[in-house]
């Protein structure tokens, strides 16, 4: 297979944009943002938690429910990527092609919709049981 550098141009462009965005955001906040050096602002940032002390501290159990719900949607996303990638795309002037044989396309489509429905059921259940009420 021939090596053509031009195929990699989009990736180089992407890298350039990523690095440029990160650098420019840092520089811009440094130059433009007001700088008030209070003791709290000088502390290392640890997502709002006190960074000094015992590692074993009580943690609100409410976060557990949020974590579980996050996992539900995380796993859902994991299944949706291959599902989306399976579908036909235009491979050029000829026929659209797909990794999935035509016989299974409607079956797989509906199966994933049923899966999505079951996740929605879990979401509504959590909602109705007051998981989001943050009591």
């Amino acid at each position: 297979m021939d090596f053509a550098l031009s195929t990699y141009y989009p990736i180089f462009l992407f890298l350039l944009v990523v690095v440029g965005f990160a650098v420019s955001a840092l520089v811009a906040t440094h130059l433009l943002g007001p700088s008030r050096r209070t003791p709290v602002k000088q502390m290392p940032y640890e997502s709002g938690m006190d960074p000094i002390g015992d590692a074993r501290q009580h943690f609100d159990v409410k976060f557990y429910l949020i974590a579980i719900l996050f996992l539900v949607f995380d796993v859902e996303l994991l299944f949706l990527y291959p599902w989306a990638a399976m579908y036909p795309w235009a491979s050029g002037p000829g026929e659209p092609s797909s990794y999935l044989p035509g016989e299974f396309q409607s079956l797989v489509f509906w199966e994933v919709l049923v899966f999505l429905l079951s996740v929605v059921v879990a979401y509504i259940y959590a909602w109705r049981r007051g998981v989001f009420r943050w009591r």
Binding site: P101, E103, F104, L107, S118, V121, I124, Y125, R128, R129
Partner: protein
């Protein structure tokens, strides 16, 4: 794409409508329970959905393949195997689900009833899929579908309001079961990964073929040295047996059972005594390859005649069976708590059932044997379900109607306060012992007959000893165990009939739980019915498990 393959990969879906219905009904229950808290409404919905699933199963029981090539493609590519064994066990799990829904009707708090019944329906679907699994992946998912709802019901069964937690024993039970169950799932999965790594397929008939090819190869090149595949295969199978042994409560994986049964409610203990056993035995029989339907005689014997399944595995199962039933019965003698006692009883019964699995590969030689081991296991599974659920049902009925039923002494004088209930409890106890004219007798008879029919080894060596001697010894040990078990079952009967009721028990006259009573009545009818006329069930299990003798006659007709 090959049309046979398409049929194999999609054609099974209409046959899984019962399980889909159960899953949909579980979703309705989970959501509906957040709007209405009413045990009678949601219990009724669960019963109706079980009936609809049974109807769907009866409309579409067995697939009909147009040609041998379609059947072959289904065997090697379909994730489920819709043979007669799957049909039998799916029917058994639906019937067991019906009994469990009735039995658990009043056991949980009102606001948890919908979720509880939804979990029961998911377990029933899981048991059915376990019996129909044709793939290691399907099998694992089905096993998880039975065990994850079990963790939930251990939490749902006891607390009465959302903020009121479990007591310490209930928490211990739920946590212990959860941690040990995921540990056993991991063991099973580890064994499965070895099987997949060695054979390159997760398809069960494909695995059997891979083992056969490997042993043929090693026999051709170096007859005395077993191939590395077979050596690793033994490691994998030991891990699978260990992981599934947890679900069967086989010793040494039984130790959680007494604590969990004691810590949780009676109804939850009934679920734990039935559901994991059915799923575990179905999975064990599928993985160990005792049931590979539509196989020709040649392939069938070739699969099992190789060293791994023929020599080592029966010895492993022999040891596990002997230790399980002996330890279960001996420790049962020491118990005063009724649920703990029934937990050890369920351990002992798992040991009896393992006799059938241990004897099954050996019985392939015995063409005139009346049973072939595996059918005896499933016969016993049905009778065990009826009598154990019945015994738990009596205890659940007592506790839901306000009488304490925790220790053996709590049942003192039950024959005077509730004569009918005491009589039916005695029926279940007699059946658990295995007294004639109860279901337990016929079940034990078939299992022991299997062990006694094992033919002698062709060549006699010092080690391993003659297989006939080994299995006759196992049958004798089992008979001795049945006698030991008789002591603690009869002790309950003696306390019920010979002691005077405590004033507390006589005073307790709470509300009657009719659904639980109905479950007890159904279990009693089954226990007595199978005991008096075992032939319908015997025919059902024998037609479900393809016997070698039948296959030989079929192939003789074909040629």
């Amino acid at each position: 794409m090959n049309p046979n393959l398409v049929t194999a990969l999609t054609g099974y879906l209409p046959y899984l409508v019962p399980e889909m219905l159960l899953g949909a009904a579980a979703c309705v229950l989970f959501l509906g329970g957040t709007w209405r808290a009413n045990r009678h409404l949601w219990g009724g919905v669960a019963l109706v959905s079980l009936a609809m699933a049974a109807l769907a199963l009866s409309f579409n029981p067995l697939p009909h393949y147009e040609s041998a090539s379609v059947a072959d493609a289904s065997r090697y590519a379909s994730p489920v195997m819709l043979d007669r064994l799957a049909l039998l066990l799916r029917g058994v799990s639906l019937a067991g689900g019906l009994l469990l829904v009735l039995l658990c009707w009043d056991s949980m708090p009102e606001n948890r009833a919908a979720e509880y019944h939804a979990c029961l329906l998911l377990m029933v679907a899981g048991m059915g899929l376990c019996a129909a699994a044709n793939e290691l992946v399907t099998l694992f998912l089905a096993l998880e579908l039975t065990s994850i709802p079990t963790y939930l019901i251990l939490y749902l069964g006891k607390s009465s309001t959302p903020n009121d937690g479990l007591d310490a024993a209930g928490q211990e039970a739920a946590m212990k079961y959860f941690l040990l169950s995921i540990f056993s799932s991991a063991l099973t999965l580890f064994g499965f990964s070895y099987l997949y790594g060695m054979a390159g397929t997760t398809n069960l008939p494909g695995l059997a073929d891979a083992f056969r090819r490997a042993s043929d190869l090693s026999a051709a090149t170096e007859p005395t040295v077993p191939s590395p595949l077979m050596g690793m295969g033994m490691v994998a199978l030991v891990m699978v047996v260990a992981g599934l042994g947890f679900r069967l409560t086989a010793v040494p994986f039984h130790f959680y059972a007494p604590d969990v049964y004691q810590g949780t409610t009676t109804a939850n203990a009934a679920v734990l005594a039935f559901v994991p056993k059915v799923a575990g035995f179905a999975a064990l029989v599928r993985v160990l390859g005792f049931v590979l339907p539509n196989l020709s005689h040649e392939v069938f014997t070739a699969t099992l005649s190789r060293p791994i399944l023929r020599e080592q595995l029966p010895i492993l199962l022999w040891i596990v069976a002997a230790v399980t039933m002996t330890l279960g019965n001996l420790l049962g003698l020491l118990q005063d708590n009724l649920r703990r006692l029934l937990a050890y009883s369920s351990v002992a019964h798992a040991g009896y059932m393992l006799i059938g699995l241990a004897a099954a590969p050996r019985l392939l030689d015995a063409f005139d044997a009346p049973v072939d081991g595996v059918d005896a296991v499933f016969f016993y599974l049905v009778t065990y379900g009826a009598m154990t659920l019945g015994a738990f049902g009596v205890l659940q009925y007592l506790s839901s109607s306000g009488q304490k039923a925790e220790t053996v002494d709590d049942l003192a004088g039950l024959s005077k306060t509730r004569p009918g209930l005491a009589l039916i409890m005695v029926l279940f106890l007699f059946s658990l012992i295995g007294i004639p004219f109860t279901a337990g007798f016929m079940g034990k008879f078939l299992l022991f007959a299997g062990a006694l029919d094992v033919p002698p080894s062709q060549e006699t060596t010092f080690w391993p000893p003659d297989q006939r001697t080994l299995f006759v010894g196992l049958a004798l040990l089992a008979a001795l165990n049945a006698a030991i078990g008789g002591w603690y079952y009869l002790r309950i009967a003696a306390v019920m009939y010979l002691r005077d009721p405590s004033p507390l028990a006589a005073a307790a006259e709470g509300k009657r739980s009719w659904p639980t009573l109905a479950a007890v009545g159904l279990c009693g009818a089954l226990t007595l019915g199978i005991g008096i006329n075992p032939d319908p069930l015997k025919r059902a299990v024998q037609s479900a498990v393809p016997r070698l003798t039948d296959m030989v006659s079929v192939s003789a007709v074909e040629h």
